[in-house]
Assembly symmetry: none
Homo-oligomer: 211 residues x 4
């Protein structure tokens, strides 16, 4: 049996190591401000080694996005759950799951990067729109529509409601990444509590007395 040599083992791990290093640095400093040598250094290799695996900084970026997005896509699809109980409950669970699995981790960070660099990588942006944004909106939109049809929800406009469900989570993440290091800007509640509160608020509304 061919035992992998240490060298081979390192080689196999390289692409992932480089992608991870790239993700970290692109988040920390942005794409343009990250030098390819830094990525290599953080991955523990020399400048030239990076180019054995990715033929340019742009390709590295694209690979990094796709790599981290694929989890996202799979996760999104998997959540097209077959849930029986009330839709409201399902929505709450899905939002918590999204935060725990995506918003809180690498995939969430990629959302920020995509937003920042979309103009510079139009094909990638289209890919992101087609594979992530649109499916997610459709998924959530279908659930809302189901709830409306079943009488669980009021006859709300779908698109606006989807937006209202998704935006706070995305924004929370963007905010943390951009201004999270400033004391005055930390949310005093945990993200989970915030989500719960938002969900409850969304369901019951602000008003004390329904008109």
């Amino acid at each position: 049996m061919a035992t992998a040599t240490p060298r081979q083992r390192r080689k196999d791990a390289r692409p992932q190591e480089l992608l991870d290093a790239a993700l970290e640095l692109f988040v920390e400093k942005g794409f343009a401000a990250t030098r390819s040598e830094e990525v290599a250094a953080r991955a523990g290799v020399a400048k030239g080694t990076l180019y054995r695996y990715y033929p340019s900084k742009d390709e590295l970026f694209k690979a990094m996005v796709r790599e981290n997005l694929s989890e996202h896509i799979v996760a999104s699809a998997a959540q097209a759950a077959q849930h029986e109980g009330p839709i409201a409950e399902l929505l709450g669970l899905m939002m918590q799951a999204w935060w725990a699995k995506i918003g809180h981790g690498k995939a969430g960070v990629v959302c920020k990067i995509m937003m920042v660099e979309a103009r510079h990588f139009p094909e990638l942006a289209r890919f992101y729109v087609d594979e992530v944004i649109t499916p997610t909106q459709n998924l959530v939109g279908d659930l809302i529509a189901r709830g409306v049809r079943s009488g669980e929800f009021r006859a709300v406009p779908i698109e606006a409601t989807v937006h209202l469900l998704i935006a706070p989570m995305l924004h929370m993440m963007l905010h943390e990444h951009s201004f999270g290091s400033h004391q005055a800007c930390h949310h005093t509640m945990s993200p989970e509590e915030l989500l719960d509160a938002q969900m409850s608020l969304l369901l019951h509304g602000l008003l004390a007395t329904p008109d």
Copy 2:
């Protein structure tokens, strides 16, 4: 009193013209990808002239942000209105006003730029947090609190509610700027309709039957 010559008038307008050009380009291409010569060209002056007004690209950026933020700050403060009727109405008006005056215009764009470049300009980010984010959150938070005290609103958690009010608008703007050019990603409703729908949704909640 010396009447300003056309030249003098031209010169007095320079800083603003440069700042406007910078804003446009930073939005279009990002900070790093915008060359200082382009900014000068769009403002109709030569490369060297830019440096007579702003000693470096970084300083130009900071001046641009501060310039466009000041409107925002003033606007925010001005809205700390002495409103008499129900808070819900006030909130709705404020959100519409925010979108019309800020989110839709230059100041909104600056929010995106700040988010993207916050890591690169920490003092500026702090300034933004202190002068824009925190005051805005306090303003909205106070209104919510007032509404709760007066019995107009349920006893909702302030912070989460503020977040839920602000995030959708900010996110709409970011989204338009990042992916707006992709067909699949255009909102089919106008921003104004979206805002109305959101406000209504927020006030009454999703559920058809209050529990």
Copy 3:
């Protein structure tokens, strides 16, 4: 009257200075082995200045060839002389003129460079073939044909004769440039004497007794 400032005067001279520097270095070391910084240095400017005038090393090369070829082309055309006496005399004069004006100077050197780099710059090679080689061959070929028709020359094959007239001069130049610095390789006759001898040899042939 707008007097050219020293700066302007230098600027106007730059392209030519850079082209001259490039020619020298490309001849000395070849295209690939010449660093763009060296070209700039020899022209007395900094690295970056080169790129104000030529957007890449390749474009610099092409400009250099075209610049030096244009003389050649003009010269070739001008030699399409309206000569009355014997063609043999004309051919001799033309070869001497070619050597004096072209082979001996920069344009000749460009022939070597074109030969060496033809594979790397196919469009340029085609340009060279169309604008220099083919016209020259046609010009000489027409003269031979005229001589044959008038009975001055034997009924020699045109193409081979053209080749036999041109090759020695070109080869002399290539040889000088490649091996001229090696003592054992210097021709002991001057190029002019060599040309005379060759012309005479070509006209009368090697054989002592015509058969």
Copy 4:
């Protein structure tokens, strides 16, 4: 006696295979533009293996030239034939032989490469001059001189005549390698016909009426 294993045979052939690959590539793309990995790949070995046989790209080049030149040298020497008939006949045969065995094949190509890279490899150029150019010129020069002494030839200047004999062949080869791929530049005669025509022309001269 140990019979060579296939592996051993393979190994013994390596240097030649590498040299052949190098020759092909250096001709196709020039020395600088040929990557050592390409040479290895064309020879069917890995990059590192090349360096077990030749310690550097420069040394590979030198070995390649020397290898292919040695044939040339031997061939040149062998042609210093003891021919009895007229020298003119011998010269014609020698030129045909040179074209068939050298000009047309690898050794001819090496002449082009030497010419192009002479400046970069001065010792090699000297070697080439001493071992190839000078002997060849001496050989041809001696034959001319013999013909002059025997009364077969007119009292032509030796050096110019040697040049006139050699240049067309060399130039034909260089030309084919540089511009051969351009339609407008193909000779319409075969090289052999060209040689015949040249020889005949050289012997009898251009003029219809000997003076």
